[in-house]
Amino acid sequence: MEHTSSYEPKSAFAKWWDDRLPVARLMHGQFVDFPTPRNLNYLWTFGGILTFCLVAQIVTGIVLAMHYQPSAHEAFNSVEAIRRDVNFGWLLRNFHAVGASMFFIAVYIHIFRGLYYGSYKAPREVLWILGVIIFLIMMATAFMGYALPWGQMSFWGVTVITNLFSSLNEIIPGVGTAIVEWLWGGYSVSGTTLNRFFALHYLLPFVLFGIVVLHIWALHVAGQNNPTGLDIKTKSDAVPMFPFAVAKDAVGLFAFLILFAWFVFYLPDYLGHADNYIEANPLVTPPHIVPEWYFLPFYAILRAIPSKLGGVIAMFSAIAVLIFVPWLDTSRVRSAKYRPLYKWFFWLLVISAVSLGYLGAKPAEGAYVTWSRIFTAYYFAHFLIVMPVLGLIETPTKLPKSISASVLRGGSGTPEGAAAAPETR
């Protein structure tokens, strides 16, 4: 967003440096002076929380990689050595394993926040699509990371999910098998597969980091959306990021860390599966294979479709459809706050997604399948029918004149000028 930078180098060295590589000026402009809408609520702190999650996963991951051995013989043993013998190994390992789940909790809240307030609409389409790509890479990274402890659920989860590609045999015979064997580096999941998963699991977070930088760049070009969905029109609509938004982000982050720590210290295995404490055994399949909880909604969609290829297509489409959301939504109003009908459909989508998560953990039989189909149908209908149609027929409620008007309407009595010149510290 265009705004004047208040950066002034304080020392001769800073001045010298600023003339050569004005990185401090850039940071100051983007993370100190940057105008943020004054009406952001706590749901907007999840961007910062997610940045923390990514950095925390990278740091704990690097540290764990110092002790982990990516071989079929030693992987399980080395994870146990980390839990038992490495100094604070139990803490670092729990942090990383729980951290993956926390990352997904935060990303789901972040995505649904974007969907509710229309954060994907012009001019934020590229920002949104970058987000979908981040989500996809996150899922790939998490999936490969879950393979690394080489427990039973690791092994059979990898077997089942990689086998999905064999459904391509239904289009061109032989292609699916060829792809699966290429992924495995053999004729079944083996230590070779584990090694390449480890290499990629170490690489992808850095790729993710790069795309996150683009995501933030795109955000800072378009500016942040806000609960009203209105653009920043005057200075009084915004406050500088520092200290205002930063102070709020800090509260959000620490509150999130309470939940995080509760799981790390008191429920380290709750989000995992007991079978992953049994070393991988290619000869014994666990009675019921479930993916990690954050994949369950997609797993339910996969199993809701009776055909194997159809299920795979539906599952990938469930993510791919998100890319087109900016153009599927035809409403001229961004925020669902002013869309009396869409609001309800939004919560229907949330219910569908949560229910699919629940059903994904249930065996694929009887009423569970029926319900999976109903919610899958709604999931797609929401994006492909509700979004385009509702936008055309719905009459939005009256929008406030501006962001500042929306927050002053409640009447705290402060004149508008007060916000135009926020206190400097």
């Binding site: 050595a81 038992r84 190994g89 670092l92 800090a250 620490f254």
Partner: protein
């Protein structure tokens, strides 16, 4: 009006307290990340080893491992012991005994580098004090250097029959590890 004057102070205090708490938390969180690189419980459990000396005949030497380092154990002949004891301190480039169980200032007499009553047993960390090579002199056929002890092939350091540096670039005598005799023919290192 008074309250308005006080306001910034209180506000500053609370904000500073919050920031300070967060900063201290971040600093404390660093500790597990640093500590994890220390030797783990498995490595620590191997921090002391027991070695049986009974198979080592007079004039022979064996090499044991302790904390990943070679330990030279030599059963010296009476001549070798005599030669080691006869060296005047003034002839030694490094006059410290380099015995982990004795203070730094202990003179490098042969008696300070062995256990009294076990004069024939010389126990050393077999790492040249110059640049960390393993000196020759353990095997019968090895060259033992100009002083009958050990010879480091990397840069030509000569050690005597007490493992003391006599000639060459090494700055210190070979180090004596902390050990004790748990029985007549058994030592515990570490």
């Amino acid at each position: 009006m008074a309250s308005e004057v006080e306001e910034p102070n209180r506000r500053d205090f609370l904000i500073i307290a919050g920031n300070a708490f967060a900063a201290v938390g971040a600093a404390v969180t660093l500790w597990p990340f640093i500590s994890q690189m220390n030797p783990d419980a498995g490595a620590q459990a191997l921090a002391s080893v027991e070695i049986d000396l009974s198979p080592v005949k007079e004039g022979q030497a064996i090499t044991a491992m302790w904390r990943g380092k070679p330990i030279f154990i030599r059963n010296r002949t009476p001549e070798e012991v005599k030669a080691a004891e006869a060296v005047p301190l003034a002839d030694l480039p490094d006059q410290s005994a380099r015995n982990d169980l004795l203070p730094e200032a202990t003179p490098a007499l042969d008696t300070n580098r062995i256990k009294s009553g076990k004069d024939n047993w010389l126990i050393l960390i077999g790492i040249c004090t110059h640049l960390g090579c393993i000196p020759k002199g353990q095997a019968m056929a090895d060259t033992k250097g100009d002083f009958g002890g050990w010879f480091c092939p990397c840069h030509g350091s000569h050690y005597d029959t007490s493992g003391r540096i006599r000639k060459g670039p090494a700055p210190r005598n070979l180090e004596v590890p902390p050990y004790e005799f748990v029985s007549d023919t058994k030592i515990k290192i570490g």
